[in-house]
């Protein structure tokens, strides 16, 4: 029987209330709980006091605003999968959300919780890195913005300090982009063996900007920076996608474990990065054709 160790429970009635509670020692945010509660059962996490933020409706939104897609930290995975705005601008979110955990878990697990959990195999961390999102962190003195590519300090560690709360994630909407996510897992609901997300901003057939996120393969900040550098300014061709994918596979540091040996994971990174780039380019071209029609 798995039971968390003794813990106290507080229910936050407002963001301000939550921030005041989180400023106290040994207080920890409880959102969907689908990462934290399993960790508490295994005694990998033993917070003194849980601050339940599930009632804070002001953090549960997904909307398009001032050229950005804005995702409240308390939006559930299922909300992101259902969001037409997210799907229209960033199909990568829908690709990824179809393979995050399972449909029941997705109804409760939150987008912000996944990012803050900072699991090295987490899917959305790679997605938000690929789309160059910004995390909005709220404290009692106001908000500060941190690029998602600087948000994670390491496994299970983020830049969020005591008395702070991830409030939302903002993603710049850039015309002419296409995006996609490709994951290999052993079964439904499992963590990735490896996964790759790609965003391409095309000008005709030239890559203006590329974003490549990797998860489960110890890529620094979930990013394949060298592969992005290679693609920038080059034609969007299959040959360049394969070359970039090879660079991505060389620069990550996959750890052999029960999900596979290192060479298999590098092989997956190369293949999944190629596929994600190919689909992202196809979607960017599809959107350009659609725009030309209207």
């Amino acid at each position: 029987m798995q039971v968390p160790s003794h813990v106290e429970y507080e229910r936050a009635t407002s963001v301000e209330h939550a921030l005041a509670l989180l400023g106290r020692p040994d207080h920890r945010v409880l959102a969907g709980g689908h990462s934290l509660i399993p960790m508490m059962k295994l005694r990998l996490a033993q917070p003194g006091v849980l601050v339940d933020i599930n009632g804070l409706a002001e953090l549960a939104f997904i909307k398009e605003h001032s050229g950005q897609l804005r995702i409240g930290a308390l939006a559930r995975h299922a909300d992101l999968l259902d969001s037409a705005a997210a799907g229209q601008h960033f199909p990568i979110f829908h690709d990824a959300e179809r393979v995050v955990a399972d449909p029941i878990v997705r109804l409760w697990g939150t987008v912000g919780g996944s990012l803050c959990q900072a699991d090295p195999s987490e899917d959305l961390s790679a997605v938000f890195a690929a789309v160059r999102a910004t995390a909005v962190i709220r404290g009692q003195d106001g908000d500060r913005e941190v690029p998602v590519r600087e948000f994670h300090l390491g496994p299970y560690e983020t830049v969020i300090g005591p008395g702070e709360l991830l409030a939302e994630i903002r993603v710049p909407i850039i015309p002419g982009t296409g995006s996609a996510y490709e994951k290999v897992a052993r079964r439904v609901g499992d963590w990735s063996v490896a996964a790759a997300g790609a965003v391409l901003q095309l000008h005709k057939h030239t890559i203006k900007e590329a974003g490549i996120g990797l998860t489960a393969v110890a890529a620094e900040h979930f990013v394949a920076a060298e592969a992005e550098d290679f693609l920038r300014g080059k034609p969007a061709t299959e040959e360049n996608f394969e070359k970039a994918a090879k660079i991505a596979a060389e620069h990550c540091q996959p750890i052999p474990d029960q999900r596979g040996p290192e060479d298999y994971k590098r092989h997956l990174v190369a293949e999944l990065t190629t596929r994600a780039l190919r689909r992202a380019a196809g979607r960017a071209a599809g959107r350009a054709a659609q725009r030309a029609k209207t």
Binding site: H6, Y9, R11, H34, D52, A101, D102, P103, I104, L107
Partner: protein
């Protein structure tokens, strides 16, 4: 701490430890043993109940989080002596063998049918993909849910 939870239409107030999981609250404190306590790791889905009308794996939510909320368990599926069409479907199509996963399967299927009364087989398989059955190979479970979709009044022998 004191929690007040409305379960299947009845409000229960109990003193609980904040670390108590909802599945144990339902089974051990309220005696509602229809929801099964299975893997304990949010993998198997035998413990699925509704929390404010959304299915949740009750081994991965604290009873404290349900304070002031509404819970529905498998005990509430049959009403006025009439089985829910999902339950009748599991009878008609032999949707269970040992029955351990059945409460979670049925609560999830009811939720699906409330949102989508005529789901395709692929949609049924998708929504049940986070629940494990070690007996049936899932085939008859999917048939049972299809049966329920085709017989919204739940009566056996009724033509679709």
């Amino acid at each position: 701490m004191r929690v007040a939870v409305t379960v299947n239409g009845t409000e229960y107030a109990r003193d609980v430890e904040p670390r108590l999981l909802l599945i144990h609250f339902l089974r051990d404190q309220l005696g509602l043993t229809g929801s099964h306590w299975g893997c304990d790791t949010s993998n198997c889905g035998s413990c699925v109940v509704w929390l404010d009308e959304t299915p949740v794996k009750a081994c991965t939510v604290l009873a404290a989080m349900a304070d002031g909320r509404i819970v529905r368990t498998v005990e509430d599926l049959a009403r006025n002596g009439q089985l829910d069409p999902v339950q009748q479907g599991f009878i008609e199509c032999h949707g269970l063998q040992c029955g351990f996963c059945t409460p979670g399967m049925m609560m999830t299927a009811r939720w699906l049918l409330d949102r989508n009364p005529d789901p395709a087989e692929a949609e049924i398989r998708e929504v049940l993909s986070g629940l494990l059955c070690r007996c049936t190979g899932y085939e008859n479970i999917v048939r049972s849910v299809r049966w329920a979709a085709q017989h919204p009044a739940g009566h056996p022998g009724e033509s679709p």
